[in-house]
Symmetry: C2
Subunit: 500 residues, 2 copies
């Protein structure tokens, strides 16, 4: 049986290599690939994911999983091998349901989809993107149908990003956040607006880059096992525990864009870099879920990166780097500006309070797309409608509206709610961490992050996919997902900032 | 039978995708990969090439090749499909001889080998590299033995890079070059040395980069289907006809390094970019051989790039870009300096006359390594010995000696003679081209390269691997490989420069 386990692990390692290779093809496509490479790249991605799928769904894997089952039952639940077999079994049962043709068709459609999205977004031409998105939605529905689901077709998709999570669990949680957000935004809107216009001065891109790099180095993002590049939409990707890369996007005339995206992606990156090396080349070498992943990125970006303590330490340095732009701006003014609450068009640049409203728009539209209630052709109008209803703003273009995010073009449907789940979880984790280490806020105000990162590594990162998100939340907090800490956090923080 | 052909092509396309993906893993390793990624990257490369090898050597491919054989016999020899089946059959028969374990072992050994070489080269520590190279040589000998050979074990390796070529054909050709080179170098050494010291002034790297890019754009290297990056050792790699990338290395205090390496790699790159799009994702989407490849790179670098005509056009621009460094240097002085003949240590920076002597050193040492006459441990001394004998110089370090090239660390043994074959072929092709288009020298002197590139595309590039090198040389020149045009070229050019 030990021999069978070794064989199974060798097979799974090869499949992990294929996924890492697919990730590199994707990273390169977003960062350095010349335009001429797009058509062949789509084929390469399709081939790699097809082979990975065929190899993983081979009968042999099923037989090996069957053969080692007695071993799995002898092992302690917390043992790496026990988790490996649990997760591999779960993935295998799901993957066996997906025909290779569908996997290939989705890979090809999304590879072309991303290229089309890039061009259409640049040209504000939704009509050019529409047939690609229609194809992707159609294939996604097919995928959900073959995977099967309870209650709602969307649950089949959600499960890819947030294992075991259901719409029926999400809805009451999001409802609480929405119910708290609406009066908070109203109260804020009743106050005099914060002047953040100085953030739109011209900030030298290289200086922005260097500052962001210095901050995330301080956080603990390891550049010997990663790097940062530029891409149209910032993302994190991983080719192993030794190579976890982030990207950013620099806007010359809007300082927060690169700054907070670098912190955000480094939060993802540190999670992947913190996975135990013993899990390398296994299906466990990944985050527990996207919600858990976002809890990390949003914690570093917002709970740490937009806190007064953080800027007490870093603002003098930033101010020195941009003395012409920030010389006349006090710490207090800067802090209020980067936390300015204002209903806006672009999710990735939204403030913490309205951010979740952007998610709710997407979450609801995705559901309508996959149930067939909404046609892709009608999506731009539906998008604009919801922005008017939830945020009181109307996109000036599809580029700044329905085409602002890469997700749907790359087939990530069912992904968006994990951002809000991440926001919610970030405060549950942060509160627990500070309860155990009351010195943390003072450390952050000294630019010291060792305790934070150490706690996250110990309690969350090192486990990779060993536990389901619900198991992990239970292990860390002793309970389930709970919106109240997050609601209290934004209410307290923004009531103080706006003095209402 | 048409159905079988379609199936065969689909299988071969997947294998082409795997090779392209392997090339991307390799490109990334040399350009952007953080150090931490090395161990997992080695596994990824091994997995991809293992799968490619398994898929290509599957019984099914043999059966499909067998089944479509009647079709192949009906086709015109020049038809793409006829060539595809010829080449696939040849590759298949060779690949079937290689056990997958050996392919994997070589991939892993060379992946680790490159990492070790990089570190050992930086630290001038051959002892650290030695066990890796021993492993690579050992596996290479195993490979040659299973492939089989006539006359000499080295022929088995040579065949990978120069199909059908034998040592017994190379020796008399190289002998002619050597016999012509030795008295030419002696005559040159009897003349007053050229002062090229100004080439060692400080040249801003970005300006060097921009000038090189502008030149190869003029050549016709297509940046919408390629890009240039930096690496320790310049190389060209291709992920398809739409994505052919080059790299360069910039030395701040030696102008020719980046300049001529960019031209050289662009020569390779334009070859790959010129392959007919109809050959995409087939085994024909590659150069006919490395000798043919080098004939392109060396032609652009030397026959074009080191000609007086070329610099009549470009020197004013270069001089303007580096007015402080070159303001006091005339065109004639510059031309003589970049063509200065001087026995030296580094192959990639050698002049045209002594270049082949660098190759002969490597060619002879490789033979001795694979016959077992020379041990890896004794390689540095043997290297230095040959440099003293052939070039009259002694390496000051292994970094500038036996470890200067990446080739052996990445398993490229049998590759070096193709550089000299390329030099020889470059003049056969160039003479033919100018005989058909006498205006070419005048065009080059106006910075116009359309006729040159058009002729190369039509006569060489578009065919990819459709013809063997011998067939291609016969098609283009009406004869076989012939050292005399190259000997006449270097004799005439350097006799004029040195006025002897």
């Amino acid at each position: 049986m030990e021999q069978k386990l070794a064989t199974l692990k060798a097979r799974l390692a090869e499949i992990a290599d294929l996924h890492a290779t697919g990730a590199l093809l994707g990273w390169d496509q977003e960062t350095y690939m010349p335009d001429g490479g797009a058509a062949e790249r789509a084929e390469q991605l399709a081939t790699i994911y097809k082979i990975a799928h065929e190899k993983f769904t081979a009968d042999e894997i099923g037989e090996l999983l069957e053969a080692v089952q007695p071993l799995a039952e002898q092992l302690d639940d917390d043992a790496d091998d026990a988790a490996l077999l649990r997760v591999a079994r779960r993935d295998y049962d799901k993957a066996r349901k997906l025909p290779t043709d569908l996997v290939v068709a989705l890979s090809r459609a999304t590879s072309h989809g991303v290229e089309s999205w890039k061009k259409a977004r640049a040209a504000n031409d939704f009509a050019a993107f529409q047939p690609h998105l229609e194809k992707i939605v159609d294939l996604t529905i097919q995928k959900a149908e073959v995977l099967g689901y309870e209650e709602h077709i969307y649950n089949a998709l959600l499960d890819d990003y947030e294992p075991d999570m259901k719409i029926s669990q999400i809805n009451p949680i999001f409802r609480q956040v929405k119910d708290a957000t609406v009066p908070l935004v109203a109260a804020i809107n009743a106050q005099p607006p914060i002047d953040a216009s100085f953030l739109h001065r011209r900030f030298d891109p290289k200086t922005q880059w260097d500052f962001g790099v210095a901050v995330v180095k301080d956080f603990g993002y390891d550049f010997t096992r990663g790097r940062q590049d530029k891409s149209a939409h910032p993302f994190t990707t991983s080719f192993g525990v030794g190579d976890v890369r982030i990207t950013t996007r620099i806007l010359e005339n809007y300082l927060p864009s690169a700054l907070f995206s670098t912190m955000h992606e480094a939060g993802h990156g540190m999670y992947e870099q913190g996975i135990a090396p013993s899990l390398a080349r296994t299906p466990l070498r990944d985050g527990a879920s996207l919600g858990i992943h976002e809890s990390q990125s949003r914690m570093w970006e917002n709970v740490v990166g937009r806190s007064m303590g953080f800027w007490q330490h870093y603002y003098p340095t930033l101010q020195k780097s941009f003395s012409a732009q920030l010389g006349d701006v006090s710490l207090e003014t800067f802090y209020r500006a980067i936390n300015k609450v204002t209903p806006s068009l672009i999710r990735v640049e939204a403030d913490e309070v309205t951010y979740n409203l952007h998610i709710f728009v997407r979450f609801e539209l995705e559901q309508a797309l996959v149930t067939g209630e909404l046609k892709v052709a009608d999506l731009p109008e539906a998008w604009n409608e919801k922005y008017r209803a939830y945020l009181g703003v109307t996109p000036d273009s599809d580029t700044n509206g329905v085409m602002q995010d890469i997700h749907w073009s790359s087939g990530l449907i069912g992904y968006f709610p994990t951002y809000s789940l991440g926001n919610i979880l970030s405060m549950q984790f942060f509160n627990k961490m500070v309860a155990e280490n009351p010195a943390i806020p003072a450390e952050i105000a000294r630019g010291e992050f060792g305790t934070v990162l150490g706690w996250l590594r110990e309690n969350i990162h090192r486990h990779g996919r060993k536990y389901t998100p619900a198991e992990l939340v239970e292990r860390v907090t002793g309970g389930g997902i709970d919106a109240q800490p997050y609601i209290k956090y934004i209410t307290d923080k923004y009531t103080e900032i706006y003095g209402s």
